[in-house]
Structures are given as C-alpha cells and as structure tokens.
C-alpha cells in the first residue's frame, strides 16, 4: 500500500502483539458475506495516476465561458491557494479540540465577521454547502421559529429549477409548502406578492441580483409585506454583490442566504460555499457551526465552537440541522480572499460586475437583431438577451468560436443569458464577433 509501509519486522512485531499471524484473521466477518477483493481496479504509480486522471479531465475542451446562472468565476489570487493548502489547515479536523485549533477557529470567526458586515445581521454561521441548501435551511428555521403562524414558503417564479429542487427536498420532511409569487418586467411584482401573501406564509424569499441578473429595486416593500404577515423575509445574494448593495438588514431581512464562494473559489463544476446569516434572536435556532470568543486558563482570548447543543452530535434528532462536515476550508479561502482584496478591492470587484455586463449589453444591443438587456434595471454580472434568430442557434455559433453561453426559458421565451466578470471581460470582443459574424466580415 503506498501510504502505510510497515517494514516486515514491524508488521511481525505488531501481529505478535495482537496474537494473530495474518491481519485477515482480525476480520470478524461471516464467510457468507466475505468479498474476494476483486473490484477490477488496477493500481497506478503516483505519476501514472496523475496522467490517467488529467487525461480524462483533458477530454473537456478549453472554452471561454459566459455562463453564470448560480456559479460565478472571479480571479482568485495566488495567496489563497498557497495559504489554504498549508497542511495545518487543509488536513485538520473540525475544531472540537480548540486548544490546538486556534488558527482555523480564528479564520472562521473572520469569515463570520465578514458575513455580518456584508449582511448587517447579527449572526452568521461558518458555512453551508451552497446557496440552495442555505435556502432550504432558512425555510426550516422559519418553520421552527414561526411554527404557530404558517407553513408556506413563498419564492419568486424565477427561482432556478435547481434551487427549487433542493428546497423541495428540504421542505418535504416537515411538510412545508413551497409556492411561487410572480415577477414582472424582470423583478418582483410587489402588488402581486401583496395579493398572494397571507398569514399561512412563514417565509418570503427574494434574491438580489435575481435570476435574471437584475438588482431588485423594491426589497423594502417585500420586507414590509413579510413583516405585516409575521413572515420572515429571506434575501438571497452573494458576498461580492453585498459589498456594494444596501445591507439587507437595513430593509428588513431576517435571514440572508446565498453564495460566498464568489470569494476564494474559482470555477470548479459548481462547488459552492453557502452563506447564512440571521437576526440575533434566532441564535439558538441557527443551523451549522458557530465560532465564538472565550478565554483560556491563562486569561488569553481564545476561540471555540460554541452553542454546540444545537448540533446533531449532541442534540441528535432534535438538532437544528443534520450538518456535520460543511465547507469550512472554503470559508477559510473566502476570508483570505476578502483580506487580500480589502474593502477597496472588494467593492472594486463588485463595480466590475456592474460595469462589465453593462458595457457588454450596450455593445450587444448595438448589434442588429439583438436586444440587451431584455429587462430594464441595473444588472449585476449577468443579463438576458433577446435575439431575432433562435437563441440556441446563437449559442451554437458562439460555441464554434470557442465561447460557452447558455439559453434560459424565461417565462416561455427562450433567451440568451450572458455573464461577464473580471475573468472573461477581456473576451467580450470575441463574444461580439461571434454574436454578429457578418459585422466582423463587413469590417474587414
């Protein structure tokens, strides 16, 4: 075995101490359920393994992506990799022995503090799996703290199917209903929401930027509606957008969920880092882990996991969540990335998410046969685009040029979706060329 080579002498000594002549004798497994060990997997040297796996990965072509849709790419500075890969961080266990894990605890405390600053809310946990599971947990929290009032969660009709599918699984156990409310002209239809909401509603969810990339302009009204019906108001966003947006607490958010993996995590096939913050009075109902401050016997400040009686390893079936392993290492990476950016860098990155898509839309809109964006309003990173031809055909044409785009079903219309960030902004020229190839020809 590559990673545990007892010498023959050591192995003999150990077997002697245990009193068997072969480790196999230690396996107390009935013959009837024994397996012969033949999985049919050949061993590889380290070098061969790398070649084999990298060979498989290389089967995906190298494309410039304008995809977005819940997974966003920002440049992650080199320090994030180098520091987070330090084995004391990467290979450590959850911090149940805080005396030897002060470093990671402090980093998680920093992550919590970052989320508190971004959301304005009093409590942030130190990670969820992704934005979809964070929304699921928000629905469960609302169910716990509003048990008497209602059992329906309202979500906008543009909530991505993938997120809805996760929410449906989370709400299935306690029998929480999930219902949609309308959007109109690309944003929440507040009047329609007012018609829909009633006292059976435990939670109203809205996202900014929303699924169409639009920054919601009327979230204070949504917050008021939630308040009027004793429902919680849950806002979805992400750690970059929140750096410039009004803090959700200021317009009545009780919970903020979303994606913190926009910091620290490059495109990795949808790997996420869920963000979860809520009002301080829900503290004992928070899912996931919390790091707090205490003192040690030498009266020095010390960090520790706290309020663990909410958690499954103590409270079992009465826990606030079944979460055990979560996304701690990614929270560390987000904290490092945020520190590297600083407030200027972070808000500067957010501004690029505003101007990048704005400028791209202006250029696309100037092309014959394209309308960009479809909806008015301020966009963040992405926008929907109308085309005279079939959106699928445009995607195919872009693909020929090495650009990956996608279509979305926008209330029955098939539209083009485009996402622009700091990492593909320089490729907008190529996108313009691919969208309107005849223009390029005529320019020549």
């Amino acid at each position: 075995m590559p990673y545990a080579t007892h010498s023959d002498a050591e192995r003999s000594a150990m077997l002697d101490a245990v009193g068997v002549s072969d480790p196999d004798a230690l396996f107390d497994i009935p013959e009837s359920v024994r397996f012969d060990g033949d999985y049919g997997i050949d061993a590889h040297s380290e070098r061969e393994t790398r070649a084999a796996v990298e060979g498989i990965l290389d089967e995906s072509p190298d494309l410039t992506e304008f995809l977005g849709g819940g997974h966003y790419d920002h440049y992650v500075p080199s320090v994030v990799d180098h520091l987070s890969l330090r084995s004391e961080f990467l290979t450590s266990y959850t911090q149940y022995q805080p005396e030897i894990t002060q470093g990671f605890l402090q980093a998680l405390f920093e992550f919590q503090s970052l989320v508190v600053e971004l959301t304005g809310l009093g409590v942030a946990n130190c990670s969820m799996y992704d934005r979809a599971t964070a929304l699921g947990e928000a629905a469960l929290l609302a169910d716990r703290v509003r048990a008497s009032s209602g059992e329906t969660v309202l979500v906008p009709d543009d909530l991505p199917d993938r997120v809805r599918a996760v929410l449906d699984n989370y709400t299935d156990g306690p029998g929480i209903g999930v219902d949609t409310y309308p959007t109109s002209e690309g944003t929440v239809d507040v009047d329609a929401l007012a018609d829909r909401v009633d006292d059976e509603v435990s939670l109203i969810y809205a996202a900014t930027p929303n699924a169409r990339g639009v920054l919601e302009p009327n979230l204070d009204a949504v917050g008021d509606l939630a308040d009027d019906h004793d429902a919680l108001f849950c806002v979805g966003s992400d750690a970059v957008a929140l750096s410039v947006l009004e803090p959700p607490e200021s317009y009545g958010a009780d919970i903020v969920v979303g994606d913190a993996g926009v910091l620290g995590l490059p495109t990795t096939y949808g790997m996420g880092l869920g963000l979860f913050a809520c009002r301080e009075d829900f503290l004992r109902q928070v899912p996931g882990r919390l790091v707090g401050i205490s003192e040690d016997d030498a009266d020095n400040r010390a960090y520790t996991l706290t309020l663990q009686t909410r958690e499954q390893h103590i409270r079992r079936e009465r826990a606030t969540s079944n979460i055990c392993t979560n996304q701690a290492w990614l929270a560390l990476r987000a904290a490092i990335h945020a520190a590297w950016l600083g407030p200027d860098g972070l808000t500067g990155l957010a501004e690029e998410c505003v101007t990048g898509i704005r400028e791209a839309c202006e250029r696309i809109d100037a092309l014959d046969g394209f309308t960009a964006p479809v909806y008015d309003g301020h966009h963040f990173r992405e926008a929907l685009i109308d085309t005279d031809e079939s959106a699928a055909a445009v995607v195919e044409r872009c693909r020929e040029a090495g650009l990956a785009l996608r279509t979305v079903d926008d209330g029955g219309e098939e539209r083009l979706a485009v996402c622009v960030t700091d990492t593909n902004r320089e490729n907008v020229d190529a996108l313009i060329d691919a969208l309107a190839p005849e223009r390029e020809v005529s320019a020549v």
Partner: protein, 468 residues
C-alpha cells in the same frame, strides 16, 4: 519545561490579534449604481499581501492537521491525504462550469461516470449518485430516496430505526426527512440485539440505519438475519459509510443485504477534511431504488457520456454536483491503490487498531475490533483528551458512544506507522498515570490553555462587532 508543541505568535507586545484589529479601513462605497441600491460604506481589514501571508501562516501554525501528528478520532477516519491529489485537483481541466452542454464537459462526465461505477462496485450496489455534498447530506438523500420508494409503492411508513450507538447524524437526518426515530438498544456484546429489532420493526418501519462495523469497531455478525427481519417487515436497510475503511477488499454492504449506503469520500478515500469540509457523501442503492436517485446521473453513450434524470428522481440535494474537487481526489486515490492497495488499507487499519488497543493501559471492553476501539478512561474522558494534547497528538473522540463509560473512541487508521502508534500508546499511558487534579491543569504546550466553553455559550461573541 514541556516542549512547545505549538506556537502562540505575538507581535508588538500582543498575541496574534484579529485581522480587523490589525488595520481595518472604512471606505466610502463608490459605485455606478444609484444610491438607493447601494450602501454608504464598508468596513473590512485591509492588509497588504505580505501581511495577509503572515497572518494566515501564523494562524496555520496555531492549528493541528494530519501532517502535524496522529488524529485517532474514532469514526472520523483521519488518514494521511496523499499530496498528489491536490495537484490533480489543481489541473486546469477542473475549471469547467456546470452549465456547459454535455458535449462540452466530457472530461467531467467521464470521471463522474467512472467514479459512479467504481463506487457501485466497491459498495456492491447497483447505482450511485455522487451529488450529496457531505456524509450527513448523503444520509438525508438516502432517506429521501427510501421515502420516495415507499411512497411510490403506496406504502406509508413513518419510522426510522437507529441503534443507540449510531452517529448523531443518523438521528438528525431521519428527523429532517420527517421520520420518527426509534432508538434500538445494544446487547451486552455491543451489537444490535436481534430480539429487540424484531420487537421494533413493524409496518411503520421505513428504514433501519446501521454502520458496520459499528462505532465500537464490532462487526454485526448477524447482519444477514437483521436484513431479513427488516426486509420481511417491508423496510429497507441503510448502511452508514463512516466505517467503510475497515471493509475495503473484505466485504461489501450490498452483499450483506443493505439497500442504500453512503460513502464518506473524505474518510475512506482520504480527501482532506479541511477543518470541517468540504466532504462528499455519494450514495449507492440497489436496482429497485435507482429510479429515485437525484438528478442528474451520468451514463455512457456511443459517443461518450451524457447526463439524464432518473425516472422517479427525488430531484436535487445540491444546486450542482456537490464538491467536485473531492470527487476528483477520491477518484485519484482509488486509482492509485487498485484492488490490492485497497485491501491493504483495511488490513492495516484493522491491524493498527488492534495493535494500539493491545498497547494501552486503559480498559478496552468488547472485541475483537476492526478499525477502531473504545477504551474506558479511569477519569473524565474530556480531561484525558486535554492531557493527551501535551504529547503532540490529537486525542480520540471522547464520551461517545455512551455505551462505554468515559469513552475514548480510537481509530488510528492505516497511515500511522508503528512508531507513531507507539507514541500514541505512550501518550495514553502517561495520561493514565496522572492524578485527576493534574489532568485539569492541562494542556500546557498548546496555543491556548484550557478554554472556558461555558462562558462562550453564555455570552456569545460571534463577530468583530462583539469586540468593539
């Protein structure tokens, strides 16, 4: 003086401060967005890159990982994480967006498919989903699949049976899925009491959740009988994969009668724990349950690979495919080992646990063990753990399972050398001879001395704002 196992950095006369205390800046937010959408200012730390590097380097040195020393946490399988898997994870071919068309992500789908099939073989299962982003998420997924299966059969069942010694996540996941949890006592041999199981099962039984070997490291020798009892009652059998490390090459849950199982890739297949994630908890199921798995699954076609939704899919448990990089590392780990290497993993893990148990002076009830054992401390197990910290090792899991008094649940794993096992034994034995009073004075060589947990919970200070 004891040697310093860890540093406590300081600079400018104070201990390593909060990042925010170093130099936070409040900046006026300048944005081309209208004022009514934007905040006025943002306050965050603003260190230059050299200070970022030093801050986190110092924090790392105040942290203990598997390359710092042994972490013999029972049920956690903290084995060495082969470094090369990080290089594979850093390969540019991983930088693929999940919403690419299938044809544009063949590398990803190929790996997903191979890993699906490989895990199915290792588990003795018919189909595997890789989606759940952690072991507990895998449990929840498996229970949702079981529920969907029973529902599809018009079979209304509301109970999940869990042995008292099971992992806390089993209880929590079952509850989260809306089930009543029925706790099953252990017998004197530390195993499932078959009579008690027979009494517990009924038309209400949706699922029995077991780990095997169980948390005492004991193989449930009656597993076939147990399976028959559950199946006869119309229930399904769920295998908690936390202890799979002891079965590699030796036995397969599917062959024992399990219908559903999860794999903890970050345990059995050595992807690093990251201080509490990311993990990944794929689940395997028998053929009858395969149509209920989450979407998407991957299948082979004439041209390559494609995604598809199983016919009666429960939908999703993660927006995309969980923690992709964990999948890549686990796949690389499996390829590296091959059949012989994987069997050697379990053999060495079991030998190491038995050897260590033979070397320590604490009482170790039950046996023979597989990959872990539970010793009984002659003092408060929590105090014993803190004292062990001074010997440069991470202590075992304490006070659980409750079946053993002052439990020290110990799983050394296969990647500990004999020398390190002897060091662990020396740490156990040195602490075993300490006075109870001295135990409470420990640890002494760590970054922090004993931490007051009660005041942290009584007076929660959870962000920089609490320090102002």
């Amino acid at each position: 003086d004891p040697p310093h196992q860890q540093t406590r950095w300081y600079a400018g006369g104070q201990y390593e401060p909060l990042l925010s205390e170093k130099r936070s800046e409040t900046v006026a937010v300048e944005s081309s967005l209208p004022d009514d959408l934007t905040r006025d200012e943002l306050t965050l730390p603003a260190p230059a890159e050299p200070e970022v590097a030093r801050h986190y380097t110092r924090l790392s040195q105040m942290n203990f990982g598997i390359e710092s020393g042994s972490i013999p946490l029972g049920s956690c399988t903290m084995k060495y994480n082969p470094k090369f898997t990080e290089d594979v994870a850093a390969h540019p071919g991983n930088r693929v967006h999940p919403l690419r068309a299938d044809a544009d992500k063949q590398g990803i789908l190929h790996l997903l498919y191979d890993l699906q099939e490989t895990l199915a073989t290792i588990g003795g299962m018919d189909a595997v989903t890789l989606q759940p982003p952690a072991g507990a998420a895998g449990e929840f997924t498996g229970i949702q699949v079981a529920k969907a299966y029973h529902d599809a059969n018009g079979d209304d069942r509301n109970e999940v049976i869990v042995p008292e010694s099971a992992h806390g996540t089993n209880f929590a996941s079952a509850a989260m899925a809306g089930y009543d949890v029925v706790e099953l006592p252990s017998n004197e041999a530390g195993r499932v009491e078959v009579d008690a199981l027979e009494a517990a099962v009924s038309d209400d039984t949706a699922l029995l959740m077991l780990t095997n070997p169980n948390t005492l490291g004991l193989f449930e020798r009656s597993i076939e009988e147990i399976a028959e009892i559950v199946h006869d009652a119309g229930g399904l059998l769920y295998y908690d994969g936390a202890n799979l490390n002891s079965l590699l090459g030796k036995a397969r849950p599917g062959d024992m009668g399990f219908d559903i199982m999860h794999f903890n890739l970050h345990k059995t297949f050595a992807t690093p724990h990251g201080g509490g994630g990311p993990g990944q908890g794929p689940i395997g199921v028998g053929a009858d349950l395969a149509p209920f798995l989450p979407t998407p699954q991957v299948r082979e076609t004439d041209d390559g690979y494609e995604t598809y939704a199983p016919e009666h899919s429960i939908g999703r448990v993660h927006e995309f495919m969980g923690n992709w990089l964990v999948l890549v590392k686990a796949y690389a780990y499996i390829l590296r080992h091959g059949d012989e290497g994987l069997e050697n993993v379990s053999e060495t893990a079991v030998l190491n646990a038995n050897y260590l148990a033979s070397q320590i002076e604490y009482e170790v009830p039950y046996g023979p063990f597989h990959h872990e054992f539970v010793a009984s401390a002659n003092a408060d197990a929590g105090d014993v753990a803190k004292s062990m910290l001074d010997y440069g090792v991470h202590p075992p899991t304490t006070k659980w399972p409750e079946i053993v008094d002052e439990a020290l649940m110990t799983e050394p794993t296969e990647t500990e050398s004999k020398a390190r096992l002897d060091d662990l034994a020396a740490a156990f034995n040195a602490v075993a001879e300490m006075d109870a009073d001295d135990l409470t004075e420990t640890p002494r060589t760590t970054t922090a001395r004993r931490i007051d947990q009660a005041s942290a919970a009584r007076n929660p200070r959870l962000s920089w704002h609490a320090l102002e």
